[in-house]
């Protein structure tokens, strides 16, 4: 299957992109939106997106096949890792989930179609998406970019998505799959890629957008925010880190092997490259002082099992060197006394578990390299993680059912935005509050229509119709 040249991202490498080209593309997008997208109904769009999701789950779908065949070379993820990631994502793209998302974020499924009654008497409300949504996407994994495109379609926005240099493969395939299903809808989407620092192109793009969504490193978010006109809505999703907390006593409800397998599922998903992937697991030392180190050993065994059925992608020498050098240092620590222990794959850098008693939060070098640290309590773990508090997204929690509510309150009060069961960290539902915000709700603008109350009434419902 060869992809036709349809999006800017399809142009041969080295084809010159100019500010004029970007401006022209924005103009075309706005026009196409008026022609093909602005007047579609929510139900139509939901049906179409759900069909797209179903297509991607079909083993013989040409786009899925191509993603799995060529994806490893383009993305660095193994076929099995890609398959699992795509299944998790598109499995959630269903009609019922989309409807639930609309109700959750907008209160009403039809509020994007027409004015609807509001709780406030004598008022009707309507939600409108931005006419042109500009997205600057991160390249670490595809989910956030695909989800952003889906949300943009749902709110009837034309979209210009600037992909990361190394992250355009799957968004591009997704764009073409949309085109195969509904070419007119795909005409409201533009995908492009250019190297960082092309401010000449970006400045044109940022001037054109009614809403700008940026995902990436904090420095990227700050840079784009500074260049976005004040009249445009700006949504920035910066760098996030995640970790796991395993409470003492959970072994009464789960076996050590199950627990380790769930943790390994979180470490192996997207090879740990997501903001929701764990850098470390804090393990509570209860009556059993050995529990944390036993968990580390079990996690190592689980990672070895995952490696056989879902191998990590091959690494460039500099990334492998990072792991090798870091392993070496921990191996010296382990050899020269102290309580450090290290487990790792033999003859490769496929996975690494480091056990250290010193509780300070430690960032992983990723690619399935994870820390296990014992703590006496969740409070102690949060104290140790204080330096990254403002960057924390998700905590994967494994705790006895009776303790979960208390722990969740403690995590929420500290600043965690998402708490999920261990094993689900990289599988947020479609409806999740991205970094604590309603991702769909943040895109829309509300129009209030305050109706005149009928004579003799001080408060009444709006006219019907």
């Amino acid at each position: 299957m060869s992809l036709p040249s349809y999006f800017l991202v399809d142009l041969p490498e080295g084809a010159p992109l100019t500010p004029q080209l970007v401006a022209d593309a924005c103009h075309t997008l706005r026009r196409n939106r008026e022609l093909y997208l602005a007047h579609r109904t929510t139900s139509q769009l939901i049906g179409l997106l759900a069909e797209l999701g179903r297509n991607w789950l079909q083993p013989d779908d040409p786009f899925r096949q191509r993603a799995l065949q060529e994806g490893p070379a383009h993305t660095g993820f193994s076929r099995a890792t890609l398959e699992r990631g795509l299944d998790a994502f598109f499995g959630g793209l269903t009609e019922s989930n989309l409807r639930r998302l609309l109700r959750q974020d907008l209160g009403d499924e039809s509020v994007l179609d027409a004015f609807q009654p509001a709780p406030e008497p004598s008022r009707r409300v309507r939600a409108l998406g931005p006419r042109l949504l500009v997205q600057v996407a991160a390249g670490n994994l595809p989910d956030p970019t695909l989800l952003s495109i889906i949300l943009g379609l749902l709110v009837r926005s034309a979209q210009f998505v600037k992909c990361a240099s190394e992250g355009s493969f799957l968004p591009r395939l997704f764009g073409h799959s949309l085109r195969a299903l509904d070419p007119k809808l795909a005409a409201c989407l533009e995908l492009a890629v250019w190297p960082g620092g092309r401010h000449d192109l970006e400045d044109v793009l940022l001037r054109e957008g009614d809403c700008v969504v940026v995902t990436g490193e904090d420095a990227t978010v700050a840079s784009v925010r500074a260049r976005t006109p004040v009249t445009a809505r700006f949504l920035g999703y910066g760098h996030r880190v995640s970790f796991g907390f395993i409470a003492a006593g959970v072994l009464h409800e789960l076996s050590l092997e199950t627990l380790a397998d769930r943790a390994a599922a979180d470490v192996t998903a997207w090879d740990q490259w997501g903001c929701l992937s764990p850098h470390l697991f804090y393990v509570q030392t209860g009556a059993d002082q050995q529990f944390p180190s036993q968990f580390a050993a079990a996690l190592a065994a689980a990672l070895e099992r995952w490696e056989t059925r879902q191998p990590r992608g091959p690494l460039r020498p500099e990334r492998a060197a990072l792991i090798a050098a870091r392993r070496d240092l921990y191996a010296v620590r382990a050899a020269c006394g102290g309580t450090t222990r290290i487990w790792n794959s033999a003859g490769s850098t496929a996975w690494t578990v480091v056990y250290e008693e010193e509780p300070d939060f430690q960032l992983s070098c990723l690619d399935r390299f994870v820390y296990v640290k014992p703590v006496t309590s969740l409070a102690r773990a949060l104290q140790a993680a204080e330096p990254v508090r403002l960057h924390v997204s998700t905590v994967g929690l494994a705790a006895p059912a009776a303790q979960q509510a208390t722990l969740a309150e403690e995590l929420a009060a500290w600043g965690v935005r998402r708490i999920c069961p261990l094993g689900q960290m990289q599988r947020p539902p479609l409806t999740w509050h991205h970094d604590g915000r309603p991702a769909l709700g943040d895109l829309v603008t509300w129009i209030d229509w305050e109706c005149e109350a009928p004579t003799g009434q001080t408060s009444a419902g709006p006219p019907s119709g």
Partner: protein, 410 residues
């Protein structure tokens, strides 16, 4: 003050033996890695030294035992376990008892990181000085006797103000052996501990060399060279340093200034100072080692041979650059994935066995990426951030432009 405890007699004998065997490079070009320094002889010396270091260096012994390696099992120098450079920051990889250590060299790095430490005493410094001098002469100063007229300019702080820099100690050794005044050092250390050099003073000294027709020998770090060349008003300035002038450049940038690729830096130096590319030498060294590699060797009279009638700056001598160590050092590029030696042309981590590291550990695992090119290697960056820092900054914050202290080495 009482005399420091002596180093173990066996190690002192080993150092003495090495000193006696050091080849006279200035008279040996090209130097043969044969005979005294052939594989067999190197292997014998390496295994002897390994056995001593296993005995006298407690953390190294633990490291070897953890890897299941003891001297009686090792048959070839490639089997001698290498210590990662990052571990020099945390453990005392030294055969010298604490009371025997009279000097310590630190690695570069920001003030937030703990530096690597390489401990020394009088014996190890004597060996270091002899070894660095031989290596330096072989690369930059092979003339015998070396040219008397060379004016020495060192763009670094003087030894007294940077006692923990192996690079400054190296330059100080070169200065003394060349019998040049202390004023050769043009740099200083500022209040925050950062290194500094006055670009105007450097330009003035270079202009003096040019006008007096005295060739200059310049020793500098790459980032301080960039500072000097970037100094306001420098862009228009053009000097023509006399033939025979040469420059040794070393060290990375680590965020101190804008990074300039080595080829670009050489072009700028040629354009501004009239030093041909062939007169610019890159040095590779680190505080954890005693020996240095250079990326090519000075050929005396090359200019005259090429074209005696023309000014040096107009003659192009083709330079094939690759780092080479002196023959008492062996190295390998290892595949980070498997730990096995890489094929020529493949990028891997540089591992070094330096026989002159008598009183510490001879086998050092660097975080430098390299490729083997014929009998040498080219550098391809670093496994950046391999040593984990406290969760402080890594990747979470934009690069911190705060001033940095310490030595831009390795």
């Amino acid at each position: 003050m009482s005399n420091p405890a002596p180093a173990p007699a066996e190690l002192r004998a080993c150092a003495e033996d090495l000193l006696q065997a050091l080849p006279e490079f200035a008279r040996q070009t090209p130097d043969p890695a044969a005979g005294e320094w052939g594989d067999e002889a190197f292997n014998r010396r390496a295994l002897e030294l390994f056995a001593l270091q296993f005995r006298f260096n407690p953390p190294y012994r633990q490291w070897c035992l953890a890897r299941g390696t003891t001297p009686d099992q090792v048959r070839h120098w490639t089997q001698i376990p290498a210590v990662p450079t990052a571990a020099f920051a945390e453990f005392d990889f030294s055969c010298l008892a604490p009371e025997a250590r009279t000097a310590v060299f630190h690695s570069s790095g920001t003030t937030r990181q703990r530096p690597s430490r390489h401990f020394h005493n009088a014996d190890s410094l004597r060996l270091y000085e002899e070894v660095l001098w031989r290596g330096f002469r072989r690369a930059l100063l092979p003339e015998e006797p070396f040219p008397d007229a060379l004016d020495l300019l060192i763009l670094l702080p003087p030894a007294a103000s940077a006692p923990h820099s192996s690079l400054v100690h190296m330059c100080e050794t070169i200065r003394r052996r060349m019998n040049r005044p202390e004023s050769a050092f043009l740099g200083s250390v500022d209040a925050s501990g950062g290194w500094w050099v006055d670009p105007a003073a450097v330009w003035a000294r270079l202009e003096q060399c040019a006008s007096l027709g005295r060739p200059a020998l310049i020793l500098a770090t790459a980032w301080l060279l960039v500072r000097v060349l970037d100094h306001p008003g420098s862009h228009q300035r053009r000097l023509s340093l006399p033939p025979g002038s040469r420059l040794m450049e070393t060290g990375g940038y680590k965020g101190r200034t804008r990074e300039v690729p080595p080829e670009e830096l050489r072009k700028q130096i040629e354009a501004h100072w009239g030093l041909p590319e062939s007169a610019i030498f890159s040095e590779y060294g680190m505080c954890e080692l005693s020996s240095q590699a250079y990326d090519h060797f000075h050929v005396p009279n090359a200019v005259r041979a090429a074209d005696p009638g023309r000014a040096q700056s107009t003659v192009r001598v083709r330079v094939r650059r690759r780092f080479r160590f002196p023959p008492w050092v062996r190295w390998e590029v290892v595949d980070p994935e498997t730990g096995a030696a890489c094929a020529e042309g493949a990028v891997g981590l540089l591992r070094i066995w330096d026989l002159a590291n008598v009183f510490s550990v001879l086998a050092v695992q660097t975080e430098d990426l390299a490729v083997r090119v014929q009998d040498g290697f080219e550098l391809r960056g670093r496994a950046a951030g391999a040593a984990p820092r406290g969760c402080s900054l890594m990747a979470l914050e934009p690069t911190d432009p705060s001033p940095v202290a310490n030595v831009p080495r390795s």
